[in-house]
């Protein structure tokens, strides 16, 4: 009887291990294909030259610069608003209808499909606010999309600040704002940055929100102002793979661009994950 129960258990546990392993295998397969087939495309020229010959040769510099410019705008929009929202929710707000409404807004914003953000950015930033297809329109769209991630990460970081710090500061006659600015935020800062990097890495890989708001098919020039349109790594992959002039012949460029994109995104993620695990170890002492 007990043998049978234990056999069921061990079968079940192997199933669970199998499921966990399958995730790793799936990730490994994708990364393997991208790396092994994209590796040959990577060269100094690929990273530092614009595309040539109707995008069948040359490099992806405008895409790298464009993605960086979009990311920078995104973080400039999302970080201040996100951190301030988190401070309100975690430090000032009392539970009630208003907070519930704000949280409902954040949760639903997090669930809005990326293409809907694209539609909104197109209708509002590009057309109504007359920004056209530009870095600022794309960055604002991505910024609003990233906002819930930053708010979530910041709130978590603020929650991790021990309550005694706040009490000690208030007990000395500091105001709430002084307490937040001088005691709470410095302690929460590394956590906020880690979470923001994670959020930003998502934004860097997004295509749908920028395909009609910030990114274009092709432009050989590097942007000179935030009202310029740009090329972007994710959109470039899509364009080359589905609408390029020589889809089969440019496969290696597609793999190469995908490799650069996942290197960028994974690099940001790994940095954040390492920072976080170091922080956790520090907090445990």
């Amino acid at each position: 009887m007990i043998e049978k129960r234990l056999r069921t258990q061990s079968l079940f546990f192997w199933l669970l291990r199998g499921a966990a392993t399958l995730n790793g295998v799936a990730l490994a397969i994708i990364v393997y294909f991208i790396v092994s087939r994209g590796w040959s495309a990577i060269s100094w020229e690929f990273l530092t030259q614009p595309p040539k010959d109707s995008m069948t040769a040359g490099g992806i510099l405008p895409c790298i610069v464009g993605t960086m410019a979009l990311c920078l705008t995104t973080i400039l929009v999302a970080l201040p608003i996100g951190v301030a929202s988190a401070i309100y929710l975690n430090e000032y707000a009392e539970q009630g209808k208003l907070v519930r409404l704000i949280r409902l807004g954040i949760n639903n914003l997090a669930g809005v499909p990326s293409i809907v953000f694209g539609l909104f950015g197109l209708a509002f930033f590009c057309i109504v606010l007359k920004m056209g297809v530009s870095i600022v329109a794309g960055g604002l769209t991505l910024g609003i999309m990233t906002l819930p991630v930053i708010i979530g990460a910041s709130e978590e970081a603020l929650k991790a600040v021990p309550q005694p710090y706040r009490e000690a500061s208030l007990a000395m006659g500091a105001t709430k704002w002084q307490t937040i600015w001088k005691v709470v935020l410095p302690v929460a800062f590394p956590g906020i940055i880690t979470g923001s990097i994670l959020g930003l890495s998502r934004a860097a890989g997004e295509t749908a929100p920028i395909m009609y708001t910030g990114a274009v098919f092709f432009t050989p020039d590097l942007p000179t102002s935030i009202f310029d349109e740009v090329m972007a790594l994710p959109y470039h992959i899509y364009v080359l793979a589905t609408a390029g002039t020589e889809i089969e012949a440019t496969r290696h460029l597609q793999y190469g661009t995908a490799l650069v994109l996942i290197a960028l995104v994974f690099g940001m993620n790994l940095a954040a994950i390492i920072m976080r695990s170091k922080m956790r170890k520090k907090l445990r002492i």
């Binding site: 009392e94 539970q95 021990p162 005694p164 710090y165 706040r166 009490e167 000690a168 500061s169 208030l170 007990a171 000395m172 006659g173 500091a174 105001t175 002084q178 001088k182 005691v183 410095p186 302690v187």
Partner: protein
């Protein structure tokens, strides 16, 4: 020496939502005297202490009725500024809670948030506070090191120095030695006795020997009510009530 009333509460009630944690407590605290609040865990002594600098305001859904006065001012008067109140009524917590900043910055913090700009003056007050808290000799060579590197007892004296730096008139201490070893505890107790010449001290403790050693007056709390308050010597030797006697002789609690 004359000891006028510095702070007092009259018929103070305190509620967490529907739960009444403090019932009708009236105590007078005299200037330059140490008053100990004793009683079993959960008797409301810490909650009562936190009413005196309105630290309980941080908890949502609380309500206070009755009077709490500092000199001639009503602590719960809506027009009273709670920030100024807390500067005048300092607090030391159960667990040492230095900020993750340098030793110097920890002490200077209160001065800076209260508007001090003059560097020389700040340095001077930092030194004075650390001396008052009897920790100057141990930290004077490492003022720019993190306060988190100090031992528990040192951290607690640092926290006392930090509270003293803003020159409070009353100091609330919430079981300040409960997390410390006996030697560190002894240092804190000596410190309390020294400090009482300069300010009014109210200390919560679950340790009756400690109350007997450091306080001039003792108040005994039980189940959110004040049972008895008197001079420490009188309370410990000739308690008026049986309940008090049972507690101090260790028959319950």
């Amino acid at each position: 020496m004359e000891h006028p009333v510095k702070m007092h509460t009259k018929d103070l009630d305190f509620f967490y939502g529907d739960f009444q944690a403090i019932h009708n407590v009236s105590i007078e605290f005299f200037q330059n005297r140490v008053t100990a609040l004793i009683g079993p865990s959960g008797c409301g002594k810490s909650t009562y202490l936190r009413c005196l600098n309105r630290m309980n305001d941080l908890i949502p859904g609380i309500r206070v009725s009755g009077n709490a006065m500092l000199d001639k001012e009503d602590i719960y008067d809506p027009s009273l500024d709670v920030v100024t109140l807390r500067r005048r009524v300092g607090m030391v917590f159960q667990k040492p809670n230095p900020f993750p900043k340098t030793i110097f910055e920890n002490i200077a913090y209160g001065l800076k948030v209260n508007g001090a700009k003059d560097k020389a003056k700040i340095t001077q007050v930092v030194e004075k506070s650390l001396k008052q808290a009897a920790i100057w000799d141990e930290v004077k060579d490492r003022l720019n090191e993190s306060a988190l590197g100090l031992s528990g007892g040192q951290q607690q004296r640092l926290c006392i120095a930090r509270a003293l730096a803003v020159d409070p008139e009353v100091l609330l201490m919430d079981e300040p030695a409960s997390a410390l070893d006996p030697i560190a505890t002894q240092k804190i107790e000596e410190l309390i006795t020294q400090l009482s010449s300069k300010l009014t001290i109210i200390i919560v403790t679950h340790n009756m020997q400690q109350a007997a050693r450091v306080s001039h007056r003792t108040a005994f709390f039980y189940m959110g009510k004040l049972v008895e308050v008197n001079d420490t010597d009188t309370l410990f030797t000739k308690p008026k009530l049986k309940q008090t006697e049972d507690y101090i002789t260790g028959r319950f609690g």
